[in-house]
């Protein structure tokens, strides 16, 4: 029997996290939620998830980026796929293109809030 894949959602908007969690649990994923970078790191240390959904802007506008950078430069966690999610678009000057920001942003995917349920499930399934 296949074990349920575990997904960690790191987002400081509890409503958004709850909605995303519902989509994922309905699709039979096991979901854990964290509302901050610290909470997210703690959850990862306790039990490594199979995938992380990571909000870009939490307390600071680039919290998510920094966390992603740290994860991808940590031998223990760099293998975990990360999908960055954000409500902002390109206008804030943050860039998400893998061509220009590959060094910095090594996430496996990028999705814009709100996320279409089908798109989310497709992307997640392709990475776990």
């Amino acid at each position: 029997m296949n074990q349920k894949k575990r997904i960690l959602i790191v987002d400081d908007d509890p409503d958004f996290a709850a909605a995303i969690a519902k989509i994922l649990t309905t699709a039979h994923y096991e979901v854990e939620k964290a509302g901050s970078v610290q909470g997210g790191m703690k959850a990862i240390e306790e039990r490594t998830p199979d995938l992380i959904l990571l909000d870009v802007m939490m307390e600071k506008y680039d919290d998510g980026f920094n966390m992603c950078y740290d994860l991808k430069h940590d031998e223990r966690y760099k293998h975990i796929p990360v999908i960055m999610i954000t409500a902002v678009t390109e206008v804030t000057g943050l860039k998400f293109s893998p061509d220009t920001d590959g060094e910095y942003l090594q996430a496996e995917g990028y999705l814009r809030k709100p996320i279409n349920a089908e798109v989310l499930l497709e992307r997640v399934a392709s990475l776990v």
Partner: protein
Amino acid sequence: MAQSECILIIDDEEVLRDGCKQVLTEKGYVTATAENGDLGLQLIRELNPDLVLIDLKMPGKSGLEVLQEIASTHPNIVKIVITGYSTVSSAVEAMQKGADDFIPKPFTADEISMTVEKGLKKRRLILEREALMREQEVVRRNMISLVSHEMRAPLAATIQYLEVILGGMAGEVSQEATEMIERCVVRLREMLELFGRWLKLATYDPQKSAERFIEVQLSDVAAKVLEMRKPEAQKMKIHLSLEAPHELPSVMGSRGALEEVLDNLIGNAVKYNKEGGWVKVRLLEQNQEILVEVADNGIGIPQEHLPRIFDEFYRVDGRRNAPIKGAGLGLAIVKKLVETHGGSIGAESRFGEGTLFRISLPKSQQTQAERTGGCKAA
């Protein structure tokens, strides 16, 4: 307020230096003195005074040199030059080189006080303006982060919940409720899009955009946009056409921005049209310019609205239940983008008969020449 204002006197004559210092100290100003230009410049850096009095005729570094240096490093310090016995020409030269005022020798205590007070009034205005501009910038930035995050986040979370409900993940939803929730999602997405557009307009930096200009072939851009708009046009049985000469010179610009311009105009021409109508895009070369015409035989724009259609948030049909939705930002963005490209835009329309938008953009060589030729037009 006057008490804390700082005045620096740069003069090689001790009598004049001390005289000014005495008069101005009595008036309640903080004063400092320097007997030559180099020391004066050092004190400028250290004290950042509000106003400086500079004697034009000094041994060593001349007053004019000192003036010019201050003008370039500290443009906001008010600079008053002290000129020799009624030498008008040196005063004129000093004013040309950045002095705010001059006072000819000899002068009385009252005269110097009045000139200084007048200069400080200017200084206060400059400081006030600077503070206002800083404040404006802070407000603008806060507004941008507020709109981009604080206002979008709740919308995103709400839509996300609605998606879950619509997907049946939170239990069965009746057909009627589904339809209503679908409308909720449509309306909320419209709002998200509006924020996005507004943000684009508010944060658009023409200078930055111009630095990345490349050669763009407008007929490619027009063809692409028409292709994208085709499904929408077909639904309304609207005929789209493109007319462009084979060897159309390119323009210098941002491909993305020019696409947005044409998409806005062609999109409008399709939206505000009638079933079976047409939209004609015509590109032509005229002298040093490329003309882009987007014409339609749609519903047209009433004459009284024409002068305002490029204004931000202006809508011809401003009713809440207007059949075609929009924020009234499309044409404002178009105009801004066209102007960034050194071009201009105009519109002609007859209500009930159709509309013609005409854009002119400089041909690429000319733009390049202008770019390398400096900014005399600015």
